[in-house]
Symmetry: D2
Subunit: 376 residues, 4 copies
């Protein structure tokens, strides 16, 4: 274990996933796990008390090559910046944006080398945009973070001290749309993203609509318009020359909760200007394959050759891949890009570790290269 | 029991739903249930052998006011046109389109008064469109059916002998879009329908992708483009003055299988021409409420006032309602219309009976007015 | 509408099911729905705000023969004994036992004619047993209720003013075991009930273990021993001569949560004394069919003749039936009785109305005779 | 890659799980994958065509230390004994018992060093018992296999050439019951195992009852008595001195399908002779902890200290652990042992590899030591 690592907000779903991955990671050693001050009932308990899959057992204990056998026994502590800084080189924040906005800079100031924040506190670069979408989350104006989508910002990661891990829907949407900037002589007129999301995306918050009897079996339009991830997507695409704000290319998103614990699927419905040419499915597929030729965790699917319809988050449980397929609908001048991922992996913890691997010059796939568990 | 009624294709999911509803219907008396010739193993068995919820019991037997107590005991027979015609005034066809195309006209010729076909065999009025989408389904050119969407074609139903019950996705989409024809001074530029569908929509067909381990937990892009219901929707909208073919308004649909047994949800993403005005959410809501003021089975939802996000098929299990909500997304000049229904009720059997109620001058809601069973 | 009826605790799952059934009941007219004092956010809202399936619509409004079209519009009020008594002849209590223990007698004293309590407050006749299992629930010693299982206590219901509706698991277990008292010359040595239960049985209580991500997909041993329904079962069986306490016949229960919203299934594993004879499956089946020959809501299944394994709560959603099948396992001297029901129907609201129908001399099946919605 | 390994029957669920595990195993190199002769449509396709989670991607390809990056590209071939023998030292049979009974000996005769059969063909040692439960499966009388439950037969594995991997329910039941042989001065009178099983246990067989609409949401009594795994359990327990046949200790099992893709849970209800002493829960817990002190893959749960009720297969998806908890029910002289596992891991592929690891003197946990993916 060479790099001492901590998780703040270790009791939630993303925190649990970080712990699972770090427990099996050859370089990052999980040595600190804390909960917010308002969860005193958890303080002093072992991690495994809230994440039962992390309980110890002979199998993991017996393995000298893993540092994670005893991860489940790590005691949850109350969050203290100084203690975290003393014990960790790297800290992952799986906390609400209000908490992250304060903790991130404080931890860096206290000597932590790298903070990876999984909340939206530092995702938006433009302060005006940030204020519009997260008015309650004030953050130090001088602090900027690297938006931690490796496929977009790989070059910026090695020097980063503050990394903002992208949102799960935003990750899928950006990966689905980025390559379109490579289309030659095609004018896109609008993009509508229709997202389907599992229940872990809503976290551990206790409310009636999250209870099993109410949440199971739904197709619930929880964000029919105005989802906050739209801003992330716009900023990312702008960097690729796809000006969806003020540039004529309109972008909207609607998100539905479906009966899924893990997983996100987005369909990007891209309307091509009727006076412009419509690229063929083959052209699109080539474009996407080229764009992701070197991407460790993006796969472009041959839809027509698969036994089951893909991309599907069901086939990605526990995997860090984002799968993408492209379609052309000639009848209505539409391109459809479907992208799927595991929202706790490529949509949260897995991607955070991927970015951190790159930050430290480690192999990008270290500790996050497991196949999906399927069917499950 | 005044009107003798039969079901051909009684062993499938739509057939079972028809049987359940007819068993409790005060005017249509279920007296004939048949299966295709190639299901000899089912012939001679009682209906309840394939639809376990229809088994008899003291409760239903004891009720003189119901004609359906013994519905489950009705013996499945092999389909014979002459026998069906001899025993039934009304026949519901829950058969594949190839079978319906032949049986429908034959039954009418043999003296059946009304045939309601749940397959797509007779849905498309335009023969060219029919040939394009259903090349294998030849039908007598002189035979036309009433497209049995009461909210669209109420006036045509009373005289009808052949009624084509709409598809489940088409029903939701058409109901979601029809009122847009009433928008004043708004130019729509494209419509993309993103549909989410439960597994009963795929029927009883035995194939690996329909098995529980494979089908549960999916978000499966089974028809990312080119779904056949698009043609139905286009014909229906054309009748309302929304020319989606050759008229500048482009229409496409993508359909995903989700982990749901019953239910369909569609989101119609309507892009308004950037040079045109964007109607407000209030204007839209008024338009929709007016449009469906007298509709027995369409409810327009006040999304912001609900405890859980609606419309949601989960809240409609066993109900014949189609719920609709409207949204405006000013940031991208988009209207979003979400519609949900139970695909076996308003999307199949319930709607077929609704149309038939109207055909016979019965109260439209007779036998299909139950509240949804929720949560379930 | 002849009998004015109220629901106290109308915002929970059992409350919602009572409202759905009463809205369609020809004799009990729902005219009062209240919530506990500590739910001020719900007061003033319509019932449909918490039970979205009860929203009004043209279909139900248009039906003069139903009194329930506007049930969803009924305004939730804060519970006041005097108001409830002024407005209702019958009150259903869907409240926690502590609340019911106080409200039941108070409502009767204030002039309500019949109180049907769905909590365990009045289920146990023996005060000692009650104190053992519900030490926190003190109730007036002079108050006794009729245990409202019609198949057991039909004769006692007509005169009752306080009816204690049985628990869902207890209902299934008692119906599964009662007929065994008719076995001739067979000494039973022990009974183990293994119950599987859906999530609505745990109610609306907000806690982490009830959230969708945590509760879905489980087989959770939430009561491996010592479930409180055991006492109900023992009292009921004692009345039938099956002395499971102090009589040599030992009775235990283990309950597992499974991924089900509605539904309960129990397997009663009955060990026959090795020195006694083991009844054949045919003898058992005859015994059970005879026992339930006149039961409106109990069906004895021919397991070997069904297309899918039954009894199964999946086939009973929205139905008031309890289905039962009997098996003999010669290899180990065991009888297995499997019983299934919908926990919100025969296990709660449906059974409460069944008992109340009998109380008022109405047909037992009035308003609760719908077929199950299946598959759903 | 030191040991060349093949899978026969690679297209099923157990075959897919074997492929996933072998692809990540440091010592067994997957180099052969075949399907039965009657699946010609699969021959020539890559493994990933039937197991979409095994598709290649940059992440796995880039890893030199894994031999499995290209596992998904392995071409499925038609099964030929000679070819399998030429290419493999070890062959896993994920085939039906009839096929395994023939293939197992043939492969060994052709020079394969070790055959691990996942079917029941070679599980029962006693030929009479085998003939009783598997009358259609004739096997060479001189061929005996080691019953591959490492916790029972560790010592026999190193020399084995034919290993019969135990059934999933049998594994859970035997691990739940074995330690009871260590109880001092306690006479057990009967054991009833109540099993709950997910849908992957039924395999890929196409039949109506396995379709998603029919199979989801069930509690289906598919084997209420007489499950074939009982014989395995009896043989294994006999070896531990628990004579459940002819020895006074009666053993029965009932199995229910529940809405789960992966996972098995068994509750062993153990009735203690009323004239004997009843061990305390503490005594039991100590006994079990001692029994499994050195077991790599068995964990004994402190039920009362967990945040969610355990053992639960939901917390074991993708893990090779079997979790066990013990309870005492004093009221009825009963012990309850609950055991849960992932039926494709410890119940099939994981355990097969565990046995094979031991066979080759490798660390027992090699390649099967991943934490469960949870929640999922």
């Amino acid at each position: 274990m060479s790099i001492a690592t901590g998780i703040i907000g270790a009791s939630g779903f993303a925190g649990g996933e970080l712990a699972r991955l770090l427990a099996g990671h050859p370089e990052f050693g999980l040595c600190y796990a804390s909960v917010p001050g308002h969860s005193p009932d958890l303080v002093g308990k072992p991690l495994a008390a809230v994440h039962p899959h992390l309980r110890a057992g002979r199998a993991v204990e017996a393995l000298p090559s893993k540092n994670g056998g005893s991860a489940g026994s790590l005691e949850l502590v109350s969050t203290k910046t100084s203690e975290a800084a003393r014990r960790c080189e790297v800290v992952f924040l799986a906390t609400p944006p209000l908490v992250s906005a304060a903790l991130g800079p404080a931890l860096l100031a206290a000597g932590v080398e790298v903070v990876v924040d999984l909340s939206p506190a530092f995702r938006l670069r433009d302060p005006a945009l940030h204020s519009k979408w997260y008015p309650a989350v004030s953050r130090p104006p001088e602090r900027t973070a690297v938006y931690g989508l490796p496929e977009l910002n790989r070059a910026l990661l090695p020097g980063a001290d503050l990394i903002a891990a992208p949102g799960c829907l935003a990750t899928a949407a950006i990966l689905a749309l980025m390559p379109l900037s490579g289309l030659d002589g095609v004018r896109l007129s609008s993009i509508t993203i229709d997202g389907k999301a599992g229940s872990t995306g809503s976290g551990h918050r206790l409310r009636s609509s999250g209870l099993h009897p109410v949440r199971s079996g739904v197709v619930a339009p929880y964000a029919p318009a105005g989802h906050r991830h739209v801003a992330e997507i716009q900023e990312a695409l702008l960097g690729k020359g796809l000006a969806t704000v003020g540039g004529g290319l309109r972008l909207g998103m609607s998100v539905f909760g479906v009966d899924l614990v893990r997983g996100v699927s987005v369909a990007a419905h891209v309307i091509v200007d009727p006076d412009s040419r419509l690229p063929s499915e083959g052209e699109l597929a080539s474009l996407y394959r080229d764009a992701y030729r070197d991407a460790a965790f993006v796969r472009v699917i041959h839809w027509r050759e698969e036994a089951v319809p893909l991309p599907d988050p069901k086939t990605l449980t526990g995997s860090n891949y984002c799968d993408i397929a492209v379609f052309q609908d000639a009848d209505c001048g539409r391109l459809v890009i479907v992208a799927a991922l595991d929202n706790l992996m490529k949509g949260a913890a897995g991607q955070a570790i991927q970015a951190c691997n790159i930050r430290y010059g480690l192999p990008e796939t270290l500790g996050i290269d497991a196949f999906a568990v399927y069917p499950g």
